[in-house]
Amino acid sequence: MKNYDTLLEKLAPRKFGKRGTVWIIFLIIIIILGLIAYIDQVINGQVVTNMRDYALWGIYISNFVFFVATSFVGSVTVAVLRLTNNTWRTPLVRIAEIITFASIVMAGLTIMIDMGRPDRLLNLFIHARLQSPITWDVIIIPTTIALSFLLLYFPLLPDLAILKKFYEKTKPKFSKWYGKLSLNWTGSKSQKSIQEKSIKIIAVLIIPVSIILQTIDAWLFSTTYRIGWDSTNMGAYFISGAFVAGLGALVTMVYIIRRVRGLDDYITDYHFDKLGKFLALACLTYLYFNINEYLIPIFTAPVEEDIHLSALVSGEWAPLFWFSQIVGLLLPLVILLFKKGRKPISMLFVGLMVVVGSWWKRYIIVIPTLLHPFLPIEGVPESWHHYFPSAHEWIITFATLAMALLIITLFVRYLPVIPIQRTADEKDMTLNKKNPES
């Protein structure tokens, strides 16, 4: 029982310290700046961005693709690990579920930021046309938001009931809220069986839904005639890329949360080692699709594609291209192959490299293609031949990132980031096996 108390003490949500408060204020300031930039964009039009008729999509779309990609982590890694009974997932699942939820919500918001007429959002429903990949997105994104919310919420129920009890005397107000949110969870057999069944159904459902989400995201590009997008490789390429980006985000978050909340006893080197191996698998898969996407086409590239590929590999885009390939994929893969590379601190760097590399990778997928149309770019201002995001675009980008981090931070603040009930169950089980009399 004493063990259980320390466990509870350790895993229950904790008030922000000084550091936490500063962090929250910092995020809110960035979000407010982003909001101001966005209002300006709505009033003056997207002329405040550096997008023009050729670079007609920019950083907003690459942000969108990035958020969609990171949302893959909870859905598939958690669901897959659950279905394959990998018990090492226990202290990591909730963090993954939180990242997924925050990412997919921000993906939905980001795509709206890119709209020239956000006031006509409802046209997407009033005049919806089913053959447009955007309509598919309109269907799949809310579906994913709902499912990933349930995947986060259902496993939380027992923990919320525990927290209700835990705060009963010290913080009655909190306790009441936790009680309401726990939907009168008592832990009875019938409740448990309903909960287990529901989670299983959601976990099974979220796998195809996530795969569809990533694939539709890829089809936004491959349903056009554009060089670099018009590829049958895109769907699988995006799924494997999301596998990498999502796990990278998870590794980074797990490290930071463990550090801030002092959870070293619960998230151990063992978990990082497992995560590292999982990420290495993801990187290998992604490498395979990258070879399919960039290396093999070189052999038969028609003129236009050749121009595009050489601009990526050795031209204007080479620094970013190689940065995303080497820092975002190859270097992490090499590091992860060594046991030392899978230690927590080196995993933090791997995670950061993967996340930053993945972000730029999306940029490389979206923008160079638009600047290599079939017909030459002529008769327009010189600046339209190039694209680099404007101050508005950067501020809004950082604001969306800050919003995602704020959602994650608030969840971490008010929810147990490591499932209490399940950890307790598992610990008891191992204790019983090793030491039956205690």
Binding site: N44, G45, Q46, V47, V48, T49, M51, R52, D53, Y54, L56, W57, D114, M115, G116, R117, R120, L121, N123, L124, I126, H127, A128, R129, Q131, S132, P133, I134, T135, V138, L220, T223, T224, Y225, R226, L370, P373, F374, L375, P376, I377, E378, G379, V380, P381
Partner: protein
């Protein structure tokens, strides 16, 4: 088709009158009587109705209509002009990049020079061949990639072959621009440069343009409704652009009228990037036996 100058002059005057904010404009004049020519006498006039019947109407009942003069309103603009399949043929051997088509188009669509609907591109097919000028508009494809991807049906294909945009429905996602392999579409990134035009909106004129929506070459259906040629055709000093109705198998550049099938056969007409399967309604005649040498600067385009 006769010279359209007198009419377009009166149209411009008319536009001017509108922008000064006449009462008529405020009442939304697409279908309102413009000016009454009611006659007190008992004389009758014989008129032809749209369905082909001859009717007699007392002069006292006749009212001048401003019907469709500015292009049809959004709902009607979706239908297309019956009995027509518009087609364009561009003779590359005659183009010297005089840029008069661009200027006329910019003027009539209220465009600024930095984002015209028409571009005249310097093209070179391979290292050995000589460069030539390629006037490029919207190809009004019969299998339009832009229409396929539009999530709200803001861009549509009409029965007369024209692809138009309803900028009152467009959500500004720019997917159509990404989908167009010919970069034919432009976007209103900021407030339209002409300021507020006090006109009823018609997709057929693409006016007034709206912030955050897509626009492009529209083949000037407002002119076609009056049996006139698009502005780029009439403004070309060298008769480069032929325009006509595919169903009549005839195209004209304003000076000579030729059989479309013969022209395409005799001069080896082709469509740009036929292999994409978009089935453009704009044909090109190869730049052989050219009328002009290839010059970047010439008397006509440097003057402008």
């Amino acid at each position: 088709m006769e010279d359209n100058n007198p009419r377009s002059d009166s149209r411009r005057k008319f536009l001017k009158k509108l922008s000064t904010g006449s009462v008529l404009a405020a009442t939304g004049l697409a279908f309102n009587p413009l000016s009454s020519c009611k006659d007190k006498s008992t004389k009758k006039t014989t008129l032809l109705t749209p369905d082909g019947k001859l009717v007699q109407v007392p002069n006292s009942e006749i009212e001048a209509m401003e019907h469709l003069y500015h292009g049809a309103p959004p709902e009607e603009a979706r239908k297309g002009i019956p009995g027509k399949k518009f087609v364009m043929v561009v003779d590359l051997s005659k183009c010297k990049n005089a840029r008069k088509c661009i200027q006329a188009c910019d003027k009539h669509h209220n465009l600024t020079p930095d984002r015209p609907y028409i571009k005249v591109l310097e093209m070179k097919d391979n290292e050995g061949s000589s460069p030539y000028w390629l006037p490029k508009k919207c190809f009004q494809c019969d299998n339009p990639p832009c229409v396929k991807v539009c999530p709200v049906g803001a861009t549509f294909k009409r029965s007369d072959g024209i692809v138009l945009i309803d900028n009152e429905r467009c959500i500004g996602c720019r997917f159509c621009m990404a989908a167009c392999p010919y970069s034919a579409r432009v976007f209103n990134w900021g407030n339209p440069p002409e300021g507020k035009l006090n006109l009823p909106y018609s997709p057929e004129t693409s006016l007034p343009s709206k912030q955050g929506t897509v626009a492009k070459c529209d083949f000037c259906p407002d002119m076609l409704r009056q049996d006139k040629l698009p502005h780029c055709v009439t403004s070309c000093p060298n008769g480069v652009i032929y325009f006509g109705n595919e169903l009549e198998d005839a195209v004209t550049n304003g000076e000579e009228t030729v059989r479309l099938s013969t022209l395409l056969r005799d001069k080896a007409g082709y469509r740009y990037m036929e292999e994409l399967g978009t089935k453009p309604r704009v044909y090109y005649l190869p730049p052989v036996d050219r009328l002009f040498p290839f010059e970047k600067e010439n008397s006509e385009n440097s003057a402008s």
